[in-house]
């Protein structure tokens, strides 16, 4: 029997049946070189298995973390909103405006095992962002305008000198008194004795 060659790989992978497996094992008992090669192949396969297991664990951990942060849900909603907005604006459907959509899709698929957690978070639509932004801008503008308008107590109002004679007359009229026409010129208006 020649050296094992590909049969060694098959043995290590567990692909040989009884007769073929016995022949390879008999050969390994006689051939030092093939034994060394078999040991090397088994070591390599173990390490490859070890590498494959860590990758799956990392993916699961990443999914849990994204689910806890709600990031995947937010990104999903944002992606859907942007997709809809893109469709409305461009007349095309389902074309993401930004790379966020692709990122969100991948994050969503990675956290597919946590759909219940995502459903507990409300969807934040862009209309709310737009409304909130517009309201903030409006209030800030109104406050600035009020601050500016209220700055000077002196409004550009007309200068007014109170017509006190007219007002005194009206005040007397309110109390029930009407002045009589003067009977003749030259009569003094009032007397104010004892005024210091």
């Amino acid at each position: 029997m020649t050296h094992g060659g590909q049969r060694l790989s098959a043995l290590i992978d567990g692909e040989l049946d009884g007769e073929g497996r016995d022949r390879v094992l008999v050969h390994l008992a006689k051939c030092e070189a093939c034994r060394s090669e078999a040991v090397a192949l088994r070591t390599l396969k173990r390490r490859m298995h070890a590498l494959g297991g860590e990758t799956q664990a990392d993916s699961a951990l990443t999914g849990r973390l994204m689910g806890l942060a709600g990031l995947s849900a937010g990104l999903d909603g944002l992606s859907a909103g942007l997709d809809g907005l893109s469709a409305g604006l461009d007349g095309r459907g389902g074309v993401p405006l930004t790379p966020w959509s692709a990122m969100a899709s991948s994050a969503s698929s990675a956290s597919s095992g946590h759909s219940a957690t995502r459903a507990a978070w409300p969807e934040v639509r862009p209309a709310w962002f737009l409304f909130g932004g517009a309201l903030t801008i409006f209030l800030a503008g109104l406050g600035t305008a009020a601050f500016m308008a209220g700055g000077s107590p002196q409004q550009p109002e007309p200068r007014v000198t109170p017509a006190v004679d007219v007002f005194v007359l009206q005040h007397d009229l309110v109390t029930g008194e009407i002045p009589a026409a003067p009977p003749s010129p030259g009569i003094s208006q009032r007397s104010t004795p004892h005024r210091p």
Binding site: Q155, E157, V160, V164, H171, I178
Partner: protein
């Protein structure tokens, strides 16, 4: 002429009479009231005297509107600068207002050619009782019959007006027993010190006494403001308070569109406040006072900068936030103080004051009812 000379003699007696025991520091004709029973410290509106007093004042209000009369009214005023007095010839035709004309006195006769005396606003407010004022009076005071007296040879019934809050004496009326017309009135300030005395002399009753009655020289403003009109003005930014001080409720508001040159700048709104005894008139105009006000003096009393035209500070004016306020009153100084303090004044604005003023201005700009 004889009546006027008699009035002058009465005035001299008033000025030189010793002070009343109940009115320290004031001189006046209250000597003859000594025999009146001292009033209770706390009034009660349910006593027989209060019922009689309220009935007498109601009859006085009716008489003031239905009795024809003429006479001379002497008004004495104790202001911050001393005593002053005025004489008015008055006529009253049933259903109309009281026609008043400054009376010519003996002192005036001796001062022919001299300039007229200083006009002091509202010291010569005619002595009358109207239904709206009586309603306010009964709301704020207790009216109590307190005895009989004789005024100018006419039997009179005396009614005391006391504050419901503390029982302090606010006024006394002497009502003609025959006609219920007021013959004399005393007004007291918040410390029950007299500040105004009005006295009728030479009262003549009947329509036949109105011969020679002069014509009216002025007419009241006709633009009466309803509650809706007041609300519209308030919505347009006009600061129209419903009351100024305790007991001074808004009882009349008159809007006047100015047509004369002196007030051609725009609309004038007059608000009249009263507690039933005194009237405070507030005139509002859009605008601001000029830098100089000839004939006015600036004062900083009452915590704010205001202008006054008369020595007793009974005509005050200031501007604030785009409005000019003019206050004219015959009320006690303390009541005027409260009224002035309740009205807006400019002050150094903080952040929130500035924001508030700015918001008000913006609202007034966009208000379509402005």
């Amino acid at each position: 002429m004889i009546g006027l000379l008699g009035a002058c003699a009465v005035l001299v007696v008033l000025m030189e009479a010793p002070g009343s025991p109940g009115v320290p520091g004031k001189s006046g004709p209250v000597v003859r009231y000594r025999r009146l029973a001292p009033a209770a410290a706390r009034p009660s509106a349910s006593t027989p005297a209060a019922a009689v007093g309220a009935r007498l004042m109601s009859e006085a209000a009716a008489a003031c509107g239905s009795v024809a009369y003429r006479g001379t009214q002497i008004a004495v005023w104790w202001g911050s600068t001393g005593e002053s007095a005025s004489f008015l010839e008055v006529w009253h035709r049933p259903g109309g207002a009281i026609l008043a004309q400054p009376a010519r006195t003996a002192a005036d006769s001796s001062d022919e050619g001299q300039p007229a005396a200083v006009v002091t606003p509202d010291q010569d407010q005619v002595m009358t009782v109207t239904a709206p004022l009586l309603a306010l009076m009964r709301a704020n005071y207790v009216l109590t019959y307190s005895g009989r007296d004789v005024i100018d040879g006419r039997p009179a019934q005396v009614v005391e007006v006391r504050r419901r809050s503390d029982g302090g004496l606010a006024a006394r009326f002497w009502l003609d027993t025959a006609t219920k017309l007021p013959l004399q009135r005393e007004l007291f300030d918040g410390k029950s010190a007299i500040f105004s005395l009005d006295d009728f002399t030479g009262l003549r009753i009947g329509a036949g006494q109105l011969r020679g009655m002069p014509a009216a020289d002025a007419h009241p403003w006709t633009g009466q403001l309803s509650a809706v009109g007041l609300a519209a003005l308030r919505a347009a930014g006009w600061p129209l308070p419903r009351g100024l001080a305790s007991g001074l409720a808004l009882f009349q508001a008159t809007e006047f569109q100015a047509t004369e040159t002196s007030i051609k700048s725009g609309k004038v709104v007059e608000l009249s406040y009263s507690d039933g005894l005194s009237v405070i008139s507030v005139f509002l105009q859009r605008g601001e006072l000029p830098q100089r006000l000839p004939g006015w003096r600036r004062m900083t009393a009452r915590g704010s900068k205001v202008y006054a035209t008369d020595p007793d500070d009974r005509s005050l004016a200031w501007s604030s936030d785009g409005f000019v306020y003019t206050v004219i009153s015959g009320a006690p100084n303390a009541a005027i103080d409260q009224a002035v303090l309740r009205l807006p004044h400019d002050s150094p604005a903080g952040f929130w004051d500035r924001m508030s003023r700015g918001f008000r201005r913006i609202v007034s700009w966009v208000n379509p009812f402005r």
